[in-house]
């Protein structure tokens, strides 16, 4: 553990009809820590993610940000706490250009001059400078994902919550995304929900495995990948192939 938790859940649960999607999850992430959430389809990791990002209201339990109860906060209030959220499907401003998208993100928490500097920095670090004037809607899937990550970076969050940042990307794009997430990391705490095990191996430190709405195990990435229970529920033969 690295210091006090920045985000914590206590007994977090969500039922759809009678079916529990997430069932009493106690979770905690330290300041500056990076955590990957993995699990098979239907394990509840996306539902869990939606609850801590204000997209779904929990049936029971609490979400705490630095000790304060933020359960059921509106999305803009979570963002106001400097929590940067990337959804699974890229949510970007298709009709705006790349620079304006980043500017809107930076401007929420910075004065105009500082926002302009931040935007220029990010255009460089995220490798978006060449397409700064292009409309986001005209760009490819990978670029749109990076623009979304760039927008998060522009708002200078203290906690980053990313839902499948490499979904639908080519191998090259995945590597570039891993590098970008590395630069975004710095001293920020981060939760990444991910499907792609190669990518998890690239970035992960500690991994939390979800299974049937509960936390199956929580351990460093190497240990998790060797664990027979994890292999059984999630990786199956695929793990043997990649091992």
């Amino acid at each position: 553990m690295i210091g006090a938790p920045i985000i914590e859940t206590r007994g977090l649960s969500k039922r759809f009809g009678g079916v529990p999607a997430v069932d009493g999850v106690d979770f905690s992430l330290g300041e500056g820590e990076l955590r990957c959430l993995i699990g098979p389809n239907g394990a509840g990791k996306s539902t869990f993610f939606k609850m801590i990002t204000g997209q779904l209201r929990p049936t029971a339990g609490q979400v705490l940000f630095r000790g304060a109860d933020v359960t059921g906060y509106e999305r803009h209030r979570l963002a106001g706490l400097r929590i940067g959220i990337k959804t699974q499907v890229p949510n970007v401003f298709d009709g705006l250009d790349v620079r304006e998208s980043l500017r809107l993100a930076a401007r929420r928490f910075h004065r105009p001059a500082a926002a302009a500097r931040t935007v220029d920095d990010i255009l460089q670090t995220a490798g978006l400078a060449a397409i700064a004037g292009r409309k986001v809607g005209e760009l490819g899937h990978g670029q749109r994902q990076w623009i979304e990550l760039g927008m998060l970076l522009a708002s200078d969050p203290q906690l980053l919550l990313l839902d499948e940042p490499t979904a639908g990307m080519t191998t090259d794009e995945v590597a570039r995304t891993a590098a970008l997430i590395g630069t975004m990391r710095q001293r920020r705490a981060m939760i990444v929900v991910e499907h792609d095990m190669q990518f998890v191996r690239m970035i992960a430190e500690v991994v939390t495995v979800f299974h049937q709405g509960r936390v199956l195990m929580e351990a460093p990435v190497g240990e998790v990948l060797r664990d027979p229970r994890v292999r059984e529920v999630y990786l199956g033969r695929q793990a043997d192939r990649h091992a």
Partner: protein
């Protein structure tokens, strides 16, 4: 100050507007002037929806309700007060207040876009039936009769502030209407260029992303909706003084739909398109009405269908596209 092409264009537009204000009353017939004044007034109404719908992404099917509220507020207030300054302000404030109330429930209740259109339409129809059923002397507000389906005739014109005797003649009404149109147009331009306007457009583009960046979409939309209602109300005031009459037909479905048609023909997402669409359609309607070549509604229906099929983006966006394509070819 640096002036871009679009700045130069706007300056030219403002200059043309001022020139029209000075020259037209001297050269055109009174009848034409009366007609031009109403085009300006309806264009202001169109601008209010062009802003709310085209930039805020809020399809208000009842924009005419605010127009009607403004007109009625003015008519009832001036009948009681006898001087036009306060009634004009009321004609703007009453629709705004109503928009705050209605908008609060719609936006903070997270009503989806389709239901929002239905609700605004319904509200407009409620006013239509409410006002229609107020015939007879029982329905009085102060000294003024609501008049039911007969409407309120004989509404006094605008006077110079503080001097009820100094009433504006029709040439000045035209000038005031055109000046108001220009002010509303440039005011909305400035608002859209501000941080508020840019966030509003971002919310139209992707509400979830805007909220995840920390902007409260509900507040921005409520503000835009209220501004739109104020502008529509102002148009309603001018309309009531222009014809010295306001009736419940301003709340009818036909009138609500007309505003939407002006905007679709001119081009959604532009302000200039709304003005152009309004003037073209209104001119066509008047001309058909006078020349009796064909039934106006029939022709307008055909025009609308042709536009939806062949120019679905509307006149202004299509013209822009053609011009930028030609520039590229020319190079």
């Amino acid at each position: 100050m640096k002036l871009g092409v679009s700045d130069a264009g706007r300056l030219a537009l403002a200059a043309a507007g001022v020139a029209a204000m000075i020259v037209l009353p001297r050269v055109v017939e009174l009848f034409t002037l009366v007609e031009l004044a109403v085009f300006c007034i309806l264009a202001i109404l169109a601008l209010s929806l062009a802003f709310v719908w085209g930039f805020g992404g809020i399809l208000s099917f009842g924009q005419s309700a605010f127009f009607g509220l403004g007109g009625y507020a003015y008519a009832l207030a001036i009948a009681n007060i006898g001087e036009s300054t306060v009634p004009i302000l009321l004609g703007i404030l009453v629709p705004m207040l109503f928009a705050v109330l209605l908008g609060y429930f719609m936006f903070y209740g997270r009503i989806s876009d389709v239901y929002l259109a239905v609700i605004t339409l319904t509200v407009s129809l409620i006013f239509y039936h409410l006002i229609n059923s107020t015939s007879g002397p029982d329905y009085m507000i102060g000294k003024a009769r609501l008049g039911g389906h007969n409407g309120i005739p004989g509404i006094p014109p605008i006077n110079l502030p503080g001097d009820p005797a100094a009433q504006l003649d029709i040439a000045v009404v035209f000038q005031v209407s055109l000046a108001t149109l220009l002010l509303v147009y440039f005011g909305l331009r400035a608002l859209l260029a501000s941080q508020f306007g840019r966030v509003l457009v971002a919310i139209r583009e992707n509400e979830l992303r805007a909220e995840l960046l920390g902007y409260d979409a509900r507040r921005y939309k409520l503000f835009a909706f209220t501004i739109g209602a104020g502008i529509a109300g102002l148009a309603g005031v001018l309309f009531a003084t222009w014809g010295s009459f306001i009736g419940p037909s301003v709340f009818s479905i036909g009138f609500s739909a007309q505003i939407i048609i002006w905007i679709i023909i001119g081009g959604l997402g532009t302000l200039g398109g709304a003005v152009l669409g309004t003037v073209l359609i209104q001119y066509l309607t008047t001309w058909l009405g006078e020349s009796k070549i064909a039934d106006a509604n029939l022709v307008l229906g055909v025009v609308f269908i042709v536009f939806v099929l062949l120019v679905p983006n509307g006149l202004v966006p299509t013209a822009r596209k053609l011009m930028s394509a030609r520039r590229r070819v020319g190079r």
